[in-house]
Subunit: 404 residues, 2 copies
């Protein structure tokens, strides 16, 4: 008798080297949490750390904590904790502000780093919307124009008028992984800069910012990095660009001597130049604590498990779900797949609501996409099997039930 | 025998109606905390609230909290909590981002709201530096030029080329209160917009944003509003400007239908248009909880006590400190005084270090200013007397001790 999918899941979980990290997270047995690509689960040690930050560092040390508790240097210190996860040497990442604000800094800075004769900024036509909105504003304010291009067409679209391109490493909707090394090289060949949005790749797969010569990058920290709701984003400025990095948001935190409080702005050296105002310490230190779960974890192992999980989930979906009820919009090819599976489905809003009611938490992207995110540090193969099984149950019970 | 200053302090504390609020804060008897104008003290109920936010809302409800726990609407909800403190009707304030980022939004928006023929932006020449740095960037990106002007000279400086002025309500260094009603009226008479920075006035004295017809305003929440280290700032856009408010940071959170995720940007109506990216929920909800201390507090009462405290502190300083050792740079006139006393002093860095070692916590503004902030909800008259007494002790023990 051949192995069932449940048996296969148990076998794969038993030999999963990353499975031991699951106990670092606050999870409940009743839920399969496949929305860590939107909000990562809570690392179990974070509440105690934050109680100390709030009660002792804020409540007792108060203002002294800016120095004694290391608050002031948190943005660059935490940047250096994220750096190895995205393949960056230290000193190139600062944490702070939202992803949107960092997109603005990065696109304006890229536009300014390029030659005067380059007046076009290519923007991923399939981008998460905020990148497009913010790039449009950056272009308007620097006298550039936006050219929407699908990532696969970036190489052909880049030319002598291209200042920079803003591309998503993994598409938020389809889960498609774009060719960061190839697109970056093509942009460079055209004399343009590459600005990457890593929101859906950092912490899920190797990025290799330094190795592939990326110029600027941004990303959020509340998905695969588990920093907590709205935890601050980060900005990567490759070392070779730092001296010429010209921020549109030159707040006092990026001044070479902030407490001199001089009327004239003098930009600090290094990644710190990407800072703006006073950092949101509570959100930032929750992120810093959350990054402890990465100690001893190799991103290559995370990637291997991620692919195994999404392969297995797709296999279970094919086996369990009646033909024609869902269609994967996530590429089958490993080289083109991030760490989520997106299934196009009729009645998707009702289907997702029912899945959640039955303890399988994914999310919806209107109008018709069910998203299932696989976070290898705390999702296992039994989760993937159960999610596919419950999806099949929900779909076979038919639309009448779904409309309720 | 006449009353001693200690006796007078006890008498004033005994009849102080606001004194009862002190128990709402985590304070220790050994410290006189006069740095609440930099980082407000911890409201005692905030740790329990944050434990619930982290453990239950993030840890258990996870992604559902964006709806069920009201995370998504926090920026505008908390804005409406701040509104009465600064004299604004609901629907005009959103919380989020740093003060610097909000200065950028406000100055760019003000420049765009003005006519094309107005190419000058007046900036408070004595401003906290980040406002100047950011205004310069805003001017550069909108084709305006910056004219530095002391607040007292704004009325004369404003003319047909003035698009807007950015002014601090209370000077961060001297504690001088500027004439918000008068300067706003003068700017309007010249056809220009008034953008106010309320960092050092909100929560310390009545602002009257609506009553005085202020156009745009920004402020931080970690000083007199006790929101916690780096808690998010806020942006006020007067209702009459909201439809034409044109943000330089049109992130997806300011879209009229964010989850439609359409490639084209359509600005939301109302204050929400000032939002940018995903809000930093932990920092934001700590602020929301901290605002509970304002329940039943009238800002007029806070102002009355603030003036009584700073009057009494100055009286004690004059009585205790040897002639000529310190000089107040804070105006004596009530109409020109915020809620801090700034004393110019030789050896100021060493003096402040020694004060802090002896439990009197103020701060330093280089090169020679000792700052003492008076936060009426948790600072009393005995604190003021003790601070002046310890200051006198430190100064009379001479420079030899100070150098140690």
């Amino acid at each position: 008798m051949s192995e069932t999918y449940g048996e296969k899941a148990a076998r794969l979980d038993a030999i999963d080297e990353l499975g031991k990290h699951r106990e670092k997270f606050a999870l409940d047995a009743g839920t399969v949490y496949l929305d860590g690509n939107s909000l990562g689960a809570l690392p179990a040690h974070v509440p105690a750390r934050m109680a100390d930050v709030i009660t002792r560092e804020w409540g007792e040390l108060r203002i002294r904590s800016w120095g004694e508790s290391g608050w002031w240097t948190a943005p660059e210190r935490i940047g250096d904790r994220i750096a190895p996860i995205v393949g960056a040497a230290p000193g190139q990442i600062v944490v702070g502000d939202s992803t949107s604000v960092n997109v603005f800094k990065a696109v304006v800075a890229a536009a300014r780093l390029s030659g005067e004769d380059r007046d076009e900024i290519l923007v991923d036509a399939t981008t998460f919307p905020t990148d497009g909105y913010i790039a449009e504003s950056a272009a308007r304010m620097t006298g550039h124009r936006i050219v929407p291009v699908e990532p696969a067409g970036m190489a052909d679209a880049a030319g002598p008028r291209t200042a920079a391109a803003l591309v998503n490493h993994v598409d938020y909707r389809s889960g498609r992984l774009h060719d960061l090394p190839g697109i970056t090289a093509a942009l460079h060949a055209a004399g343009a800069l590459a600005v990457w949005d890593l929101c859906h790749s950092a912490g899920a797969l190797p990025v290799g910012l330094d190795a592939h010569g990326v110029d600027l990058a941004v990303g959020c920290t509340y998905k695969y990095l588990n920093g907590g709701p709205g935890s601050p984003a980060y900005l990567y400025v490759a070392e070779r660009h730092q001296n010429a990095f010209d921020s549109p948001l030159p707040g006092w935190n990026s001044h070479t001597d902030p407490f001199a409080m001089t009327p004239g702005y003098e930009a600090a050296a290094g990644a710190v130049r990407g800072r703006v105002g006073t950092p949101d310490i509570l959100s930032m230190l929750a992120l810093e604590a959350a990054l402890d779960v990465w100690d001893g974890v190799a991103i290559e192992d995370v990637r291997a498990k991620s692919l195994a999980l999404t392969d297995f989930f797709l296999e279970c979906v094919r086996a369990y779900v009646p033909e024609g009820r869902v269609r994967s919009v996530t590429p089958d090819t490993h080289a083109e797949r991030g760490s989520q599976v997106a299934l196009s489905c009729e009645n998707a809003p009702a289907v997702m609501a029912e899945l959640i009611r039955r303890g399988v938490v994914g999310d919806l992207r209107r109008p018709d996409v069910l998203r299932f995110g696989f976070t290898p540090l705390y999702v296992g193969f039994a989760d993937a099997e159960r999610a596919a099984r419950v999806l099949s149950e929900v779909l076979t019970e038919g639309p009448a039930d779904l409309a309720s």
